[in-house]
Subunit: 348 residues, 2 copies
Amino acid sequence: MAAITVKNRQILLKDYVTGSFVESDMTFHDGTCLLQLQEGTNDILVKNLYISPDPFLRGRMQKRTNSYVDSFVPGSVITGFGVSQVVMSNNPNFSKGDFVTGYTGWEDFSVIKSSGFLRIIPAIGFPLTYFLGVLGLTAYAGFHEVCSPKEGDQVFVSAASGAVGQLVGQFAKLLGCYVVGSAGSNEKVELLKNTLGFDEAFNYREEIDLDATLKKYFPKGIDIYFENVGGEMLEAVLNNINVFARIAVCGMISRYDSAEPYSIKNLHLLIPMRAKMQGLIATDFSHLYPEVTERVGLWLKEKKIVYIEDLIEGLENAPRAMLDVLRGKNVGKKIVKLSDPYTSLEAL
Amino acid sequence: MAAITVKNRQILLKDYVTGSFVESDMTFHDGTCLLQLQEGTNDILVKNLYISPDPFLRGRMQKRTNSYVDSFVPGSVITGFGVSQVVMSNNPNFSKGDFVTGYTGWEDFSVIKSSGFLRIIPAIGFPLTYFLGVLGLTAYAGFHEVCSPKEGDQVFVSAASGAVGQLVGQFAKLLGCYVVGSAGSNEKVELLKNTLGFDEAFNYREEIDLDATLKKYFPKGIDIYFENVGGEMLEAVLNNINVFARIAVCGMISRYDSAEPYSIKNLHLLIPMRAKMQGLIATDFSHLYPEVTERVGLWLKEKKIVYIEDLIEGLENAPRAMLDVLRGKNVGKKIVKLSDPYTSLEAL
C-alpha cells in the first residue's frame, strides 16, 4: 500500500541566533511528509497538537562553544516539548491514537526515534496541555526535590507568573511557606497576589534597588530562591540569603537572549551562607511522574491550586510565541496549539 | 592576690582595608594584660601558641555591605583560628595547661568568652599545629560531605598546594579518583606531582587559556571541583563540568583582595549540567571531629598522606604571613608560631 502524503508545515531555524532573538530567526516551511515508518525501527509517527515555546530553547539556537547541549542545526526544524497523538507506531509501548507528551518537532507530523522521554498521557480528566506544565516535573521536582522546603521557609520566586513560577509559589504556600514573587508588569503582580495566593509580589521593572526591595519583602532573609531569571536579580538574592539557603537554578532567562550577559559578582557569598545552588532539568525526575500526577492532580481537583495558561493558536505563530516568552510578555504557561486530535487517518 | 601583669603583644586592624591588603593595614601593639578572669563568667584565659593566617580573614577586614559576617573593628585585635594553652579557666570543661584549638586573638594572651568552637587537643602524638590543618575539618568535610565523591571521579583542586588543597587532593587519591591540581608556581606543581601524589598539576600563571588547559587535563570532564580561588578558574571549570558535577566552594581567594572582583559569566551552565555549587564552613561539621581524628590520624601514621606546613616564627610577622597567603606565596599550610607552651605561671 502506498504511503499517504500529507501537508507538513514546519518551523525551521534560519541560522544561529546572535544577539536578541527576532521572529525572522525562524522560517515557516510549507512542506509535505509521507505517513510511513521505516521498517526495522522502533520509530513512532505522531501528529503534534501543542508545542511549548520554552525559554531554554533559546540556548539551542546559538552555536555552542561547548558540546554539552546540542545546538539546533540551521535549516532544521525546531524541537521541544509538546503534546502529540500517535499516528503510527513501530514501538509496542505506543499505539495509534495514544496521546503522548515528550520531545517533538515544531511541525504537524514528527517521527520520534527515541522514545526515552515520551510518555502516554493518562486519561484522568485534565486538559492535554496540563501535561506540559502543571502536571509536568519542573516546578514540582525543582521545588520539592532541589529546594528541600519546609514549613515556614521564606521563599522567593522570580518570573513568578510564568509557567513554572506560578506553580512553585503555590506549592510553597501549600507547604506553609512565606512566598514572594517578582514579575515584569503590574498586571502580573496583581495576579500573583489576588489569584495565585502569593503573600507579596513586586514588579521588578519598577524597582530601582533590587537589593533593598528584597530586604523589604524578606525581613527574615531568603531560605529558598527558585531561580528563573539570573543576572541582577540573582545578585540581589545572594545579598539576602540566609545560612543554608537553597537556590534551585531552573532558568536564567535574562541571559539567554542577551549578547552581553550580566555577570555575577557576589557568588562568594555562598561561602559564609553555606548556601547551595543547583541546576535542574525536569527529565531527571521522571520517576516522580506518578507522584506528580496523583498529588498535583488532587490539588487541581480540590481547587487548591490555580493554573494559568496563555494559549495561542497556529503553528505559524510559534516564533511570535517564542519571542513573547523571551520578553516576558506571556502571562502563565505559553502554549501553541497546532491542531485538534485527529479522528481518523483519512481526516489527516 | 593581686593579678600578675604580663606583656601582651597584639596585631590590630588599622582601618578597613580597601583594595589590596598591605602589611601596614595591620599595626603591632606592644601592650600588657592582667592575668585574671572576671568572676561570674565562663571565660577562659589562654596563651596563644600558633595562629592561622587564613584567607577568609581578608573578608572581615573590609566594611561589609551586609551584616552576615561581622567585620573586624578598626583598632581591635585580629581574631582567627589558633592553637592556645589554657592559663586560667572559669569553664569547668577546660583546665589550666590544656592545649586547645578554636577562635582566638592575634596576641600573646586572649580571653575566650564563647567556648562554642573551642576544643581540647587530644594527646595522640601529633604536632599541635596539625589541629589547625590536616586534623581539622575543612578539607575532610568539604570533600567527603559536600562533594559526595566516589571512586573514579574526575577531581580538580585549585590552590592545590595550599592548606586545604593539598589534603583534598590526597583524600581524593585515597578514594581512587583521578586528581589534577592547579598552583601558582612550577615549584608547587612539582610538589603536587612528586610529593603529594596528584595525577597531574599545572601552573595556572603559565596557561593562556584555562578552558583549553582543563580540557587537556580532563578529557572525561570534571565531576568534582574543590573551589579555592574563584574568578576565571571557576569560569573555566564551569565550561568543563560533567552532568551532576559537585562544586564545593571553600574559598574564592582571587576576589578577596581585589577592588574589582572578576565576575562569573557562565553560571547558567549549572542548568544543563544539573550541577551543584555549595559553600562550606568547617565549623558546621564539628560532629565529624572524632571521625577525622581517627581516619586522618591513621592515614598520617601509615604515611598514606603527607602534610606540608609553612611555618613562620613571631607574632610580628603575622601581617607578612597574611600577605603571603593572599598572594599565594605560601607552600602548604601557613602557620605563625607565637610561643612555645608555658611550663609555669611564673615563666609567663
